[in-house]
Symmetry: C2
Subunit: 487 residues, 2 copies
Amino acid sequence: MKNQVQLITYVDRLGGGDLRALQALLTQGEDNPLRGRFGGVHLLPFFHPIDGADAGFDPIDHTRVDPRLGDWSDLAALAAPESGLDVMADVIVNHMSSQSPQFLDYQAHGEASEHAGLFLTLDAVFPDGANEALLTAVYRPRPGLPLTVLPAGDARRIFWTTFTPQQIDIDVEHPSGEAYLEAILRRFASVGIRSIRLDAAGYAIKRAGRSCFMMPETFAFIAAFSAKARALGIEVLVEVHSYYRRQIEIARQVDWVYDFALPPLVLHAFAFGTAGPLKQWAEMRPRNALTVLDTHDGIGIIDIGADAADRAGSPGLVPPEELDALVEWIHRNSQGESRLATGAAASNLDLYQVNCTFFDALGGNERDYLLARAIQFFLPGIPQVYYVGLLAGRNDLALLQRTGVGRDINRHHYTRAEIDERLRADVVRQLLQLIELRNAHPAFGGQFELLGSGDTELRLAWTHGEHRAELWVDFKDPARHGLRFSE
Amino acid sequence: MKNQVQLITYVDRLGGGDLRALQALLTQGEDNPLRGRFGGVHLLPFFHPIDGADAGFDPIDHTRVDPRLGDWSDLAALAAPESGLDVMADVIVNHMSSQSPQFLDYQAHGEASEHAGLFLTLDAVFPDGANEALLTAVYRPRPGLPLTVLPAGDARRIFWTTFTPQQIDIDVEHPSGEAYLEAILRRFASVGIRSIRLDAAGYAIKRAGRSCFMMPETFAFIAAFSAKARALGIEVLVEVHSYYRRQIEIARQVDWVYDFALPPLVLHAFAFGTAGPLKQWAEMRPRNALTVLDTHDGIGIIDIGADAADRAGSPGLVPPEELDALVEWIHRNSQGESRLATGAAASNLDLYQVNCTFFDALGGNERDYLLARAIQFFLPGIPQVYYVGLLAGRNDLALLQRTGVGRDINRHHYTRAEIDERLRADVVRQLLQLIELRNAHPAFGGQFELLGSGDTELRLAWTHGEHRAELWVDFKDPARHGLRFSE
């Protein structure tokens, strides 16, 4: 990947248009401050349909562009060298929509369907029956069992559904599952997509009596699938939220990971006026990471908390009482909006993610927001900026109320007029300058250093020959900070 | 039970007061039109607490009155002969709250808890493991599996939860379960409660490989529990929603059942201008029934539909296309409010209940509403009138929006001022007259006749010596109707 800032966006929520309109927004216009600003763009799911139960992550047809957005030739134009944008797209490896033609056929014909092997059933995973020990051994990203009862043929079957009842898990080891996923890769390669994000890949492999999450067999699957992608000229980013030590292990075994611990640690630094956990992480964090402060999902909590399986023996990056207080701090900063969007858990420590725009998580403080972005851009890795964060966007309570989907609080639909207005805002203009420096300054092609500093301070530097870039923040009083670039 | 109309009400939603205030509302005041109007009152759950996840049906302590409502001495006063009201109360036999001291103790100490046998686990029901055939054989009142994962002791256990994850099913066959339920009966008997409603009793017994719903073992359990109640001077009403033929079988084996087919059949008669299915039902329906048009739950759909297990071989009281149209007719009559409260199902035929006040289900037509009540009062059985129906209440969208609980659309909190205002409304005054006639007219102590009439008409009569009461409705044009009582 190019060592430049990437944009994460839905095709239709940044200007309300299609693929061509998005390409124009990012590549055309003399006075357009977004033109040429990004080295790449991660297009959130653009498959048919983009408005399913999980905002595109439950495609009915993964090899078809939603016609409201355009077609594959538009994708090819956006991914062409002239646009200057490397395109990343999602491969949803774990599951497919319960409304897909394949699943509907299986429901209609049962075992006589040609797709009978494509979907994972309870009996397939537990041929000798399931009991409490087997079922509770399964690692879960959300409460409840990963099982959904649906009719298929003349019977009611119990399907493995890791996420929602509308997302039926695929048997990725079955020849039908393999063929299905390979067809997606070939389709992507044919239009010049340069990298893929493996959505929820950690859950792809199931074994009775085991966690069914990031097992050696899962790594083997990811490695094999990545090899197929690379053979087609495609790099692979693996999306996994988990305990930070596990995340480090995972990073050793795959091409690219997200640094999901970063957003909550940056917030923690501002909340507690200390840089300790952030610096601890900066020393050990994987370098083959895409850095983020925000994505289409929430702000990760499990990424810095203790290992849920062994809270005492495997503590997190921040102690439990501080993690609890951090969540409350975010809720307070957002005037309680994030609490509405996040819902109740027995304890904040059981939270998976907090739903809130990153700007609102910082209470709309522009200085702190820009410092947070500077920290993101200075840490080794490829920075990604989510479209709402690019515009320093606020929580969208109206959308949340309309859909009842917590994450929609951070998935605003921007009109062109709103974009133009936001691009004139000081905080956005300064963020665009910061992006430009990160993309163009030669220091970032050199050596990174985490410099020594006091407990409340963070000091980061890049050096390349005579070029140098340096960032300094004192979280005890963030008015005390510095950002210096050599000429 | 006395052959008089009973009221169904929450203690605190009819006037906003406690048990004493409710007793005053129903028994005191010279000009009080509610005084002496009812032969009995079914008090919806008044246990600690009344505001859990299922509006009192998930008590933490079933033998304690919620202190906001009063105490057992207030209950005894209401149930005393001077008040003239026979009190019915709920025994929630199937489950108890996940916040009950018993369950919390089990969670804290696991198998070492003295309550370890009280709660049903997956392994207890399926000692050899569960598979798809075993799990899909279980009859379900709602989608999904009846299983919830929760920590207990050092392990995570999988509990049987027929309804919500907050309602943990009891092992009613275990000595701990028996002792728990018997303590409730004794407490009720000690304050003079005359009848109990067995909530969700059809689900109380579980057997691997079977439906776990109204099996012979379930009837045996209900019979044994009823015998214990009768020995304490308590009559037993069994609450079951099911296919109408099964409902008739159930009625043969228990003291009292609800006539849950009546509300949708009355609506069907008005919707289609025909009395056919209603008369068919009137001929075969159980006589040991409490008749209702409304309760704290929704309007039953499965009660008149085909048997879900065999739609072709076991058709319902109305054909599927008419059942579908009936649901749409209710939604239209309520200006779409009932659709908001009922939620989406793949098909209207899969609906369990429609949430709507009965008055709104009839589009607020006062004449039709009073005719519907007259039909209810003329059919053999003991009529119950729900407090919202008593006041010809409208849907409470504000409460629905506040709680997100569909059934709350028909669970309005009436202030005293609202009650006084409603009691002056024509429709309510006429309903109270009808109740008075049903309670006092001697004909209703005699013989019932379903008289011959045309397809669009219903004609019902009661005769006792020289006393006679007669009701006639032509659903094709309900303006054509008659209601005659001998002097």
